[in-house]
């Protein structure tokens, strides 16, 4: 009986430890997502839509997880510098000019990327703001 109780206490302690670690990074993710959402509404939603659905052929949807994963390191470049090249999203080709957002700081860019890549059916977790700087140095 004692053994069982001890085992139970031990298991609960371990679980709590794991849980609290997890929730710390979850809190960070949640804060990126919530700030990112505000930036998205202000700068991006007009073209990409409330649900990331895009706008006809004028702006592509943000629901193609594979595209977003494969181009993750270019997303900061698209946002900071704008982009105008053919892109295949959900199997359809889009080409239209996306404007640049030079006024956005690295932290804003990281937050909006985290929001986009964790909404609209995407679930890619955190993208630290320190990464933005190196990604911007390697724009194609």
């Amino acid at each position: 009986m004692r053994k069982i109780i001890l085992l139970a206490i031990f298991t609960i302690t371990i679980c709590t430890m794991i849980y609290s670690c997890q929730s710390e990074s979850e809190i960070e993710l949640a804060s990126y997502v919530s700030n990112g959402k505000d930036i998205y509404i202000k700068y991006c939603q007009n073209c990409h839509g409330e649900k990331g659905e895009g706008l006809g052929q004028l702006a592509p949807p943000l629901t193609d997880s594979v595209f977003l994963k494969e181009n993750k390191s270019q997303l900061a470049c698209f946002i900071k510098n704008g982009v105008n090249k053919p892109m295949v999203i959900n199997g359809k080709t889009y080409q239209e000019k996306m404007p640049s957002f030079p006024q956005l700081e690295n932290i804003d860019i990281a937050q909006v990327i985290v929001y986009v890549t964790n909404s609209f059916g995407n679930k890619q977790g955190i993208y630290q703001h320190q990464l933005v700087e190196s990604d911007l140095r390697n724009c194609k």
């Binding site: 007009n46 073209c47 839509g49 706008l55 006809g56 004028l58 404007p99």
Partner: protein
């Protein structure tokens, strides 16, 4: 006794509410713009005072298929007019996303049309408008995108549709303008203006188009 009074006031309130709701069903939309009183004679030769409302004057523009569009196209129709330009990266995508939901709702009604004027007289030639309308997903001639001279379009915007438009080299995209969706009736009178960037106002526009269509049926 107090209880009884309450019941009465409740009944009165209920009756009033129903009364107002009933009124709303056959309400008329207001008429906007300047008006003037003119004195005319009726059929018996008596002098009567008539109110003359501001109307949209005739115009001539090129649409996305390079066809000349005049007011004849809107004869007997209710239409929604707005001002935009294809390279606008701020309010226009939102306005047209919202206006497209209105277009979808009234797509099969031959009495409703849409008229978007570009204010970018330098770049938005008919071929550019064609590409834009196709990419927006508009595939019929119910929603016209028109190109005209700066003078004609800007005058019509400011004097007749009461929408401010301006060329401004300091603005992000080179122009500034308001996002009103203006509702025009069969007599070319202005019956409403709705902020095309606000979904509640666009919902109101949908209701008002139906009200206007019903009003014009009687």
């Amino acid at each position: 006794m107090i209880k009884f009074k309450n019941t009465i006031s409740f009944a009165v309130l209920l009756a009033l509410t129903i009364g107002f709701a009933a009124c709303n069903n056959n309400k008329k939309l207001p008429i906007y713009g300047q008006r003037e009183a003119v004195i005319t004679k009726d059929k018996d030769g008596n002098q009567v005072v008539d109110t003359v409302y501001q109307t949209i004057p005739n115009f001539s523009f090129l649409n996305q298929d390079s066809t000349i569009i005049t007011q004849d196209v809107f004869k007997g129709k209710v239409y929604v007019a707005d001002f935009f330009f294809t390279s606008c990266t701020t309010i226009c995508p939102t306005m047209h996303r919202n206006l497209k939901t209105v277009y979808e709702d009234f797509k099969s009604n031959p009495d409703v049309m849409f008229l978007s004027h570009t204010i970018d007289f330098k770049y938005d030639k008919p071929a550019v408008l064609k590409k834009y309308s196709q990419k927006l997903g508009i595939d019929n001639s119910k929603w016209l995108f028109v190109y005209g001279s700066k003078e004609d379009v800007y005058r019509l915007a400011e004097k007749n549709y009461l929408v401010a438009v301006e060329e401004d080299s300091t603005a992000r995209d080179g122009y500034i303008h308001q996002g009103w969706l203006v509702l025009i009736d069969k007599d070319k009178k202005m019956r409403g203006a709705y902020d095309g960037t606000k979904t509640e106002q666009v919902e109101q526009l949908k209701k008002d188009i139906s009200t206007l269509l019903a009003e014009e049926k009687d």
